[in-house]
Symmetry: C2
Subunit: 219 residues, 2 copies
């Protein structure tokens, strides 16, 4: 039940058609949300039936009519109370991390290939986001206004960027780790061997210590 809030939130900013909403999702809001037109259109109908939004048809030449939606007072109430409501505990589904978790089933070289490929995917996203940040800042400077709305969207943009930067960095670190521990994949002969541990002992000790040392109270 959050698609409705994504839509109502957007309509609290500007009037829009279902098509416009989809574009906004794919563009700026893709940092935290996504949806298909085939889900947006029925949801808009529901919202209209509940009188949280209203619509009017705007004819165009050579193009289909635009069905432009506006938020009602009821809609404003709904989005405002949702924004102030206790946030959900995050329900993460990261299928790539799951693949990594099970990559002991493939060769070290294949692991590195997968990590490099995914790093590239994330880099592309990061490049697009940097573009968006650039444009957002230029538009603020040009229009010479600062508002709570722009402030909060700046914070969200930054979070999106940070996320990409840090995932990319993790990919790099993990590639280095696997590279350094390639020998573990060779010695799958003796299942109870002690040797594999000694090979990687120092390295893993450092890795775990570094992990436990990760702290949130530094600058």
């Amino acid at each position: 039940m959050t698609l409705r809030h994504a839509i109502l939130g957007l309509l609290s900013k500007w009037d829009a058609t279902g098509y416009d909403i989809k574009k906004e999702f794919d563009d700026f809001m893709s940092i935290f949300w996504h949806s298909h037109l085939s889900q947006i259109y029925p949801e808009l109908n529901k919202l209209e039936a509940e009188e949280l939004v209203t619509s009017r048809l705007v004819p165009q030449e050579g193009k289909p009519d635009r069905k432009v939606y506006s938020i009602t007072n009821g809609g404003i109430d709904e989005i405002t109370s949702w924004v102030g409501a206790p946030p959900d505990i995050p329900k993460i589904k990261d299928s790539f991390l799951m693949q990594v978790f099970f990559m002991d089933n493939i060769s070290a070289d294949d692991v590195i290939f997968q990590l490099k490929y995914y790093q590239g995917v994330r880099q592309k996203r990061l490049d697009e986001m940097k573009q968006t940040v650039q444009e957002a800042w230029e538009s603020i400077v040009e229009r010479q206004i600062m508002t709570p709305r722009l402030l909060m969207s700046s914070a969200v943009l930054r979070r999106g960027l940070e996320q990409e930067v840090q995932y990319i960095r993790w990919c790099e670190e993990t590639i280095a780790l696997v590279e350094a521990c390639k020998s573990l994949w060779d010695t799958d002969t003796s299942p109870d061997s002690v040797l594999p541990f000694n090979d990687a002992k120092e390295l893993m000790e450092n890795y775990y210590n570094a992990t436990l040392a990760l702290e949130n109270d530094e600058a």
Copy 2:
């Protein structure tokens, strides 16, 4: 179609019941996956019908019978090829970031309250994960073995921890930002005012420059 891979991946490590699988999801795997028993049981039945897993009943005293599943060769093939397959582009749904995006609808104090609350939620998760990392390392030291399996799960654990640490840090930074820009919420009188920008100009310039300076090629 990824729940089946979560299950097959687990069964490629140990035999388990549906109930065991659920616990593993909620524990170690919660970094990247979650599911309900009511979805796991039917999926196990499907996997058995497709002969990717087999089951046997293990009677117990005073408790219901355990239906223990084992992976078949077909199941191994399926999970291996999935792990080596091109990763999906990430489909993020972060309803808290969405709330933040629309928080221009509530007061600066309420924004700070929400951010602090969420920071606490994430801190709790982080503390639990640190516990898990500690235990994982102790078990490695105790058993004196290192394997690809343990290596990959260490990397995934680290990613989970990093994610929490960085989200918490972002909450802190954003609280500071909103605190510094509280005045923006007061001056909602004149909609086209130039003043609000000048108030926050330097601060925002720094913020955007810092955002654009975020780089992935540092240590």
